[in-house]
C-alpha cells in the first residue's frame, strides 16, 4: 500500500466537506462579530437529527432537511443567548456543545434504546452523484465525480458565499456589521437582524455538515462523533481569514490530514499516533494564523 495515492485524494475530498461546511458557517458568524465556538454542537445536532429523520421518514432528502432544521433551532438558541441576552459567546458556545452532547446521548437512549452508537443496515445513506461527462475524463474524473451531493453543496456554498459577501448589497452590510456594529447601526442597518441571519445560516451549513458526517460514508451515529471537528473547522475559519476561498484551502488541508490519518492505520504504526495527526496539524497550523482573532486575554474580559 502506498502512502500517497490516488484514492487518498478522493477520500480527502469526501472528508473536506463537513469541515468546509462548518467552517463557512463559522466564517459567517465571524463576519458579523460573533465568535461561534458552538459549531461542534451544531454539527452534532445535525448529524443526529439526520439519522432520526432517515429512520422515521426513510427519505434521504427529508433526513437531510431534518438535520438542517434541528441545527437551525439550536443555532437560534445560541443566537438568542449571544445577541439578545448578550451572554459571552464563548461560554454560550461551550454550553451549546455540552447541551447537544447530552441531548443526543439522551435521545439516542430514548428513541433507539441503544448506548454509544446507532446503526441500521437497512438505512440508506446519501447517494453518489455521477456526473455524466466529467466522469470519463481519465485522472480528474474519479476525483470530481462519484461523491455524495453534500460534497458538491459544500464547494458550491463556498463560491455562493463569496459572491454573497463581496458582490451583493446585503453581503456588504453584513461585513459592515462585523467591522463596526455601532457605525453600521448609525447608518440604519438592522444589525440584530443581520446577526440573526448569519447565525441561522451557519446553523443551516452546520446541519449539512452533520448530515454528511452521519449519512455520507457509513450511515450511523455515534456519541460525540464530531470528535473536535467543530473546533478544527473553527481553526480552518481563522486560517482562511473568514474568506470563503481561503477557507476552501484551509479545509482541504485538514480534510487531507483526516484522510491521511485513516490511511496511515494500514501501516505498522500505533493507531493512537495516526489518530493524533489531524489535531497536531491543526495546532501547528495555528502558528501561521495571520488573523489571530481576538487576543484571548483581551477578548474574554466579560467572561466572569
Amino acid at each position: 500500500m502506498e502512502l500517497f495515492d490516488y484514492s487518498l485524494f478522493v477520500s480527502a475530498i469526501r472528508m473536506v466537506s463537513p469541515i468546509l461546511l462548518a467552517a463557512l458557517g463559522g466564517a459567517l458568524c465571524a463576519r458579523v462579530g460573533i465568535f461561534n465556538v458552538g459549531l461542534e454542537g451544531l454539527i452534532l445536532a445535525g448529524a443526529f437529527s439526520a439519522i432520526v429523520g432517515n429512520h422515521f421518514t426513510e427519505n434521504i432528502f427529508l433526513a437531510v432537511l431534518s438535520g438542517v432544521a434541528m441545527s437551525v433551532v439550536v443555532s437560534l438558541v445560541f443566537g438568542v443567548a449571544t445577541i439578545h441576552l448578550k451572554s459571552n459567546p464563548i461560554v454560550a458556545g461551550i454550553a451549546i456543545n455540552f447541551l447537544m452532547l447530552g441531548l443526543t446521548t439522551f435521545a439516542l437512549r430514548a428513541i433507539f434504546d441503544v448506548k454509544g452508537a446507532y446503526y441500521d443496515k437497512d438505512m440508506a445513506g446519501l447517494p453518489k452523484v455521477h456526473i455524466p461527462f466529467l466522469e470519463d475524463i481519465p485522472v480528474i474524473g474519479k476525483l470530481i465525480s462519484g461523491h455524495s451531493p453534500l460534497v458538491y453543496v459544500a464547494f458550491i456554498a463556498a463560491v455562493v458565499l463569496y459572491i454573497f459577501l463581496y458582490r451583493t448589497v446585503t453581503g456588504f452590510r453584513l461585513l459592515a456589521v462585523g467591522k463596526n456594529p455601532a457605525a453600521a447601526r448609525s447608518l440604519g442597518l438592522k444589525v440584530t437582524t443581520l446577526q440573526y441571519g448569519a447565525v441561522i445560516l451557519s446553523g443551516v451549513l452546520c446541519g449539512l455538515a452533520g448530515a454528511q458526517l452521519s449519512l455520507g460514508q457509513v450511515t450511523m451515529f455515534t456519541e460525540g462523533m464530531t470528535a473536535g471537528r467543530g473546533f478544527i473547522a473553527l481553526v480552518a475559519t481563522m486560517l482562511g481569514q473568514s474568506h470563503p476561498i481561503g477557507i476552501i484551502g484551509s479545509s482541504m488541508l485538514f480534510g487531507l490530514m483526516d484522510a491521511l490519518s485513516i490511511r496511515l492505520q494500514g501501516f505498522s504504526m500505533p493507531t493512537q499516533f495516526t489518530a493524533m495527526l489531524p489535531y497536531v496539524i491543526t495546532i501547528l497550523a495555528m502558528f501561521f494564523l495571520k488573523d489571530r482573532g481576538t487576543d484571548s486575554l483581551a477578548g474574554q474580559q466579560s467572561s466572569r
Binding site: I90, A92, F106, R109, A110, G228, M238, R304
Partner: protein, 358 residues
C-alpha cells in the same frame, strides 16, 4: 431598611444560580415526562441515589473529588482571564504519569506516593504551560489549542498503556498499567466507603486557592490580569509571567485530579477511566456555575457529582436513562451564561427607548 439592603446584597449573587437550577429542574422534568415516568417520584429516587444513605453520600463525595480539583484549575485560569478547555488532557497526562511514577520510582511506598503526586501535578502543569507559552509567545489561541491538545494527550496516554506499559500479568490484555503496591495508595476516609484522602486534598486546595486569591500579591495580580489586562500591564504586572504561572497551576490542579483518582480509586491507570465519566467537563461546568469562586466551585462540584450519582441511582430503579443528568447540566450552564434574570430586568427597564440608540 438597612437589614433589607444587606439581605438583598447577600442574595443577589444567588438569584442567577437559583433561576438556572430551577430551569434545569424543569428541563429534567420534561425529559423524564418524555420517557413516561412520574416526575416527582423519579426526582426522589434521584435524591436518594445521591444522598439517601451514608454509602451513597460518600460515593457522591468520591465522585466530586476529581471534579472539584479540575474545577479549581479551570477557575484559576478563568481568574487570569483565559479559557483552559484542556482540563481533560492535563488530567489524563497527570494520571498516567502518577501511575508510572508510583510503579517505577525507586524507594519505599511512602516515597512512591509522594513521587506520584509530584509527577502527576508536574505532568498536568507542564502540558498546560505549553499551551500558555504558545499563547503568550506566538498568540496561538489558548481556547482552541488546549481543546485540541486534549485529543493528543488522551491518545498518547492510551498508547502508553496499550503498548509499552501494559499490564501483561492478567489473562485479559486490557489497556491498563499494572496495579500500584498497596503502600502507595491514598487511604480511604471510612472503611468500605469509596471516598478517599483525595477529597481532603481537594478541599484543602480550594481553601488554599481562596487564601491565595484574596490575600496575596500574586493572587491580586492574577485577578487584575483577568479583569483588565491593559490596566494590569499599566500597573506593572508582568502579564506573561502571571499568565504562565496561572496556566501551570491550573494544569497542575487538573493533573492532581487525575492523580488522586489513580492513587485513591483505581490504583492503576486504565484507558478511558477518566474520560468516560467526563470529570473534566463537569469540573469546567462547576467553575462556570460558581463564577470561578473557589469555594463556590467546591459546592457546585459536589452538587453536580450528586446529580450524576443520583442519575445512576435513577437508572437502576426507573426507566429513565442517566443521560438526563448531562442534559440538566448543560441547560444550567446555558442559562448561567445567558445572565438570564439580570438581562430580563434590563430589558424591562429599557422597554421605552429600545428602538433608539443602543
Amino acid at each position: 431598611m438597612y437589614l433589607q439592603k444587606k439581605l438583598q446584597k447577600l442574595l443577589k449573587p444567588l438569584v442567577q444560580p437559583f433561576f438556572a437550577v430551577l430551569i434545569g429542574i424543569i428541563t429534567g422534568a420534561v425529559a423524564i415526562a418524555i420517557v413516561g415516568e412520574p416526575i416527582l417520584d423519579t426526582y426522589i429516587v434521584m435524591w436518594n441515589g445521591a444522598f439517601g444513605n451514608f454509602y451513597f453520600l460518600t460515593s457522591t463525595l468520591a465522585r466530586a473529588t476529581p471534579i472539584l480539583l479540575v474545577g479549581l484549575g479551570v477557575a484559576l485560569a478563568f481568574r487570569a482571564g483565559v479559557f483552559n478547555l484542556g482540563g481533560e488532557g492535563q488530567m489524563v497526562l497527570g494520571a498516567v504519569s502518577a501511575a508510572l511514577a508510583a510503579l517505577y520510582f525507586p524507594g519505599p511506598p511512602a516515597v512512591k506516593l509522594v513521587a506520584a503526586l509530584i509527577a502527576g501535578m508536574l505532568a498536568g502543569g507542564l502540558w498546560a504551560l505549553l499551551a500558555g507559552w504558545m499563547e503568550s509567545r506566538f498568540k496561538v489561541q489558548l481556547l482552541i489549542s488546549t481543546l485540541l491538545m486534549n485529543y493528543v494527550a488522551i491518545l498518547f496516554a492510551s498508547y502508553l498503556v496499550a503498548e509499552p506499559f501494559q499490564d501483561r500479568s492478567g489473562s485479559a490484555a486490557l489497556a491498563q498499567t499494572p496495579m500500584i503496591e498497596q503502600g502507595a495508595w491514598l487511604p480511604k476516609l471510612f472503611t468500605g466507603m469509596s471516598v478517599h484522602m483525595g477529597f481532603v486534598i481537594a478541599v484543602f486546595c480550594a481553601l488554599l486557592l481562596v487564601i491565595i486569591l484574596r490575600f496575596t500579591t500574586s493572587g491580586y495580580e492574577v485577578k487584575m490580569l483577568g479583569l483588565n489586562p491593559f490596566f494590569a500591564e499599566y500597573g506593572g504586572v508582568n502579564k506573561v509571567k502571571v499568565l504562565l504561572l496561572s496556566m501551570f497551576f491550573s494544569g497542575a490542579l487538573a493533573g492532581l485530579a487525575g492523580t488522586v483518582e489513580v492513587l485513591g480509586t483505581q490504583y492503576r491507570y486504565v484507558d478511558g477511566f477518566l474520560t468516560a465519566p467526563g470529570f473534566a467537563w463537569t469540573g469546567l461546568m462547576a467553575a462556570l456555575l460558581a463564577n470561578s469562586n473557589p469555594l463556590g466551585t467546591a459546592v457546585a462540584a459536589i452538587l453536580l457529582a450528586a446529580l450524576q450519582t443520583g442519575a445512576m441511582g435513577m437508572e437502576r430503579n426507573t426507566e429513565v436513562p442517566l443521560e438526563v443528568a448531562s442534559v440538566i447540566q448543560a441547560v444550567l450552564i446555558l442559562f448561567v451564561s445567558a445572565k438570564f434574570t439580570i438581562n430580563w430586568w434590563k430589558l424591562r427597564k429599557k422597554e421605552g427607548d429600545v428602538s433608539g440608540t443602543v
